[in-house]
Symmetry: C2
Subunit: 141 residues, 2 copies
């Protein structure tokens, strides 16, 4: 079907990308861990992180999670049942509900973020100079 355009293994972009992917998805995927730590499935963790970052309406959240509205409702239901988020009426539009994180929710989000954002040991083991270079280069994206 699709023409399988081959990759050039000598291309530095291809090589760097491959290594990044290997590190992120193969060697250091801690999603399972994060889910267990907060006792939620991964979509709910993502939803929690999202509302912790910034509250918003259900539709808004659905968009940010790339799911449809009904599913967003279900996910938020679960989070609310656990006391991690609350629904508040939009002051100007009574149709909307604003979903925001409770203190417990913020704590749980921080836990998840700490696990997911914890760099792998191999990365920490890099010389400070390389790390700074890495940070600088990646910041340009």
């Amino acid at each position: 079907m699709t023409a399988p355009r081959e990759l050039d293994p000598a291309d530095p972009a291809v090589r760097a990308w491959g290594r990044m992917r290997a590190l992120v998805v193969d060697q250091h995927d801690r999603r399972r861990e994060a889910c267990e730590a907060v006792g939620l499935s991964f979509v709910r963790v993502k939803a929690l992180l999202e509302v912790a970052r910034e509250p918003g309406t259900l539709s808004d959240l659905a968009d940010r999670l790339s799911v449809d509205r009904p599913y967003a409702t279900v996910v938020v239901d679960e989070l609310q049942k656990r006391g991690l988020v609350r629904r508040e009426h939009h002051p100007d539009d009574r149709r909307c509900k604003i979903v925001s994180a409770t203190p417990d929710g913020l704590r749980a989000a921080a836990t998840a973020r700490a696990i997911l954002g914890d760099p792998p040991p191999v990365l920490r083991a890099l010389p400070a100079e390389d790390l700074a270079q890495l940070d600088r280069i990646l910041a340009a994206l």
Copy 2:
């Protein structure tokens, strides 16, 4: 529950890791695309890539995919039904079956690899010097 050890946003390792994750999982996750291109679910794509890389027994494959043996059987069944892999008897141990990719399977694997391994445009847009640095640093992992 778990002590939420906070992350230091000034730590270059944390920052670099965050950027890498954002790029790999948030902005350029092409798994859906790869699955559609070869008409398989993602675990099967992973399995296919694995056997294409190197044939092995079912148990071996189960280990590499981090699933149990029964599930590996199911996955391989599907791939075999599509003519992408074949089972061969182990010459010395008749209990074992060696799973290897057919020519079709190798082609499908190449397609998936081409999609998954295709670096995002932002990465390609980096100056050659930075790209080389990136490649060099990441290679040290």
